[in-house]
């Protein structure tokens, strides 16, 4: 479980996060949603320690980030898997080398064991036979799957995905969503996903947090979305005609599952 309390962050006097608190539960796909510029990425990067917050407490299963030494932080990071918005694959390495990289840095596995694990994770993300290709030689959807494979190769306790569906076609996006959800359940990870993709929210959103202008505006699960009268949430989620229609139907039926 990851707990965030009263997180504040400003850049050049402009407040981006204004006292956000949230709990991300283990074994669930937790989603942070909001419009572009709402502070989602800053929030996620603050939790990851890539941005230093001005104020606030972040704890990983009771281990408080701000009170840890640099070495302790490095240890926690070995338990973290991240899928970046742009994939962040090492472009000078092959797919196999990319996935092997965390194992080479942090484990004493033999070359055969590493190879076996690479093939295992590639199979899990439905991507086989690309071991010797470079990231530039495969499609965006495949790169996303490789990024996911690299993120899970060391069985992370915490999995973070920043806009995992950006730039993907709807079908590939759903495949990626389901993969993340399956992996969350299989490895019992605390998964945090940053997204503004409504399909993802409806597909795998178990706990959803809406950010707006640096504040947490709403929190709940995907079934609650249809029955809330929060204007910010309704404005964000049901802005398209399709989702307005879906909302009407769900409200008529009285439940969403």
């Amino acid at each position: 479980m990851i707990e965030v309390k009263n997180l504040y962050k400003s850049f050049d006097g402009k407040a981006v996060l204004k006292g956000i608190s949230a709990v991300f539960e283990t074994g669930k796909t937790n989603m942070i949603i909001g419009r572009s510029g709402s502070g989602k990425t800053v929030f996620l990067k603050s939790i990851l320690g890539l941005i230093k917050p001005d104020k606030g407490i972040i704890s990983f299963d009771g281990r408080i980030w701000e009170q840890m030494s640099a070495e302790e932080k490095r240890q926690i990071r070995k338990e973290v898997g991240v899928v970046f918005q742009g994939n962040a694959l090492f472009d000078s390495m092959t797919i196999e080398e990319n996935i092997k990289f965390p194992m080479r840095m942090f484990t004493q596995l033999s070359p055969e064991e590493k190879k076996k694990r690479v093939n295992e994770v590639l199979e899990q993300v439905n991507l086989e036979g690309v071991n010797d290709k470079y990231p530039a030689e495969i499609s965006g959807g495949m790169q996303k799957r490789v990024a996911l494979a690299r993120a899970i190769v060391l069985y992370p306790k915490y999995l973070f995905c920043d806009e995992p569906n950006s730039g993907l076609d709807p079908k590939t996006a759903i495949i990626i969503d389901n993969l993340i959800h399956d992996l969350t359940i299989r490895y019992n990870t605390t998964t945090v996903i940053n997204t503004h993709d409504m399909n993802s929210i409806m597909e795998i959103g178990e706990k959803i947090i809406l950010l707006k202008d640096g504040h947490k505006q709403w929190e709940g699960d995907k079934s609650e979305i249809f029955f809330t009268d929060n204007p910010d949430l309704n404005d964000f989620v049901f802005s398209s005609a399709l989702f307005k229609k879906v909302k009407e139907l769900v409200q008529k039926e009285g439940h969403f599952d």
């Binding site: 962040a88 840095m105 942090f106």
Partner: protein, 245 residues
């Protein structure tokens, strides 16, 4: 502003000089950097050195046309110019251009494509992982590269002197041995080690802390080359003052 930059550069070096997390990976990266930063530059460095050696010989011969001055001074002046200044300082400035822009742009591209963030969130000390192999490769290989440059520069002078007939082979060879001081080579190699340090670290600094997109990476590479060259010129003066005066 400048003080802040120097402070940030010093803090960067503190991280760079930490013990590598995985020595085996460090040495693999080291040999890769020796190839990228050093071996791939041998051809150009050799080409430039050979022809500059020739040009120095021609210019010196033209300026020593007085029959009262012994022709051996042509070889003497050539070897002094090459060893003391041309090879260590000017080849280092050329390397600052070639290698400096390469380092700044590769690290800068890694920064803007979140590859450095990926290293950091994995728990890898990204500065140590990316910069230390480059630094060690430059500091250990460039003295060798500059030695090649010295040899080819002097050789180029001999070839051109012979071809043009401006200086006889035996005069040239006598000249390069005339009052030869091995401290000159030592002085040149000491300078090279300092210059190599700047060639590896200043571009790394500009690349690592770049913000923005590809345009900013290009600007960072330009800044890196400018400040590396400026540092080489200033340190060249300081070291010369310290070692030769």
């Amino acid at each position: 502003m400048y003080l802040e930059t120097i402070g940030k550069y010093a803090l960067m070096l503190k991280e760079v000089f930490k013990k590598p997390q995985k020595p085996k990976i460090f040495w693999e990266n080291y040999f890769k950097e020796v190839e990228d930063l050093g071996i791939k530059s041998i051809g150009l460095v050799g080409f430039i050195s050979f022809f500059i050696g020739g040009v120095v010989t021609i210019q010196t011969a033209r300026n020593l046309s007085n029959p009262l001055i012994d022709k051996l001074y042509i070889g003497y002046a050539t070897i002094k110019s090459i060893i003391l200044e041309f090879s260590p300082t000017f080849i280092s400035i050329i390397l600052a251009g070639i290698v400096g822009s390469y380092i700044a742009s590769t690290i800068g591209t890694m920064r803007i494509t979140e590859q450095i963030d990926a290293l950091d969130v994995m728990g890898v000390n990204s500065l140590n992982y990316l910069v230390l192999p480059k630094l060690v490769a430059a500091v250990t290989f460039y003295p060798f590269l500059i030695t090649i440059s010295m040899f080819l520069g002097v050789f180029g002078g001999w070839v051109v002197g012979n071809m043009t007939g401006m200086v006889l082979s035996e005069d040239y060879l006598k000249g390069i041995r005339y009052s030869f001081d091995s401290f000159d080579v030592f002085y040149a190699l000491i300078k090279t080690v300092f210059f190599a340090f700047f060639i590896a670290t200043i571009p790394a600094y500009y690349g690592y802390y770049v913000k923005g997109g590809s345009l900013e990476v290009g600007r960072a590479a330009t800044q890196a080359v400018i400040w590396t060259s400026v540092s080489i010129i200033i340190v060249n003066y300081i070291l010369t003052q310290l070692l030769l005066s």
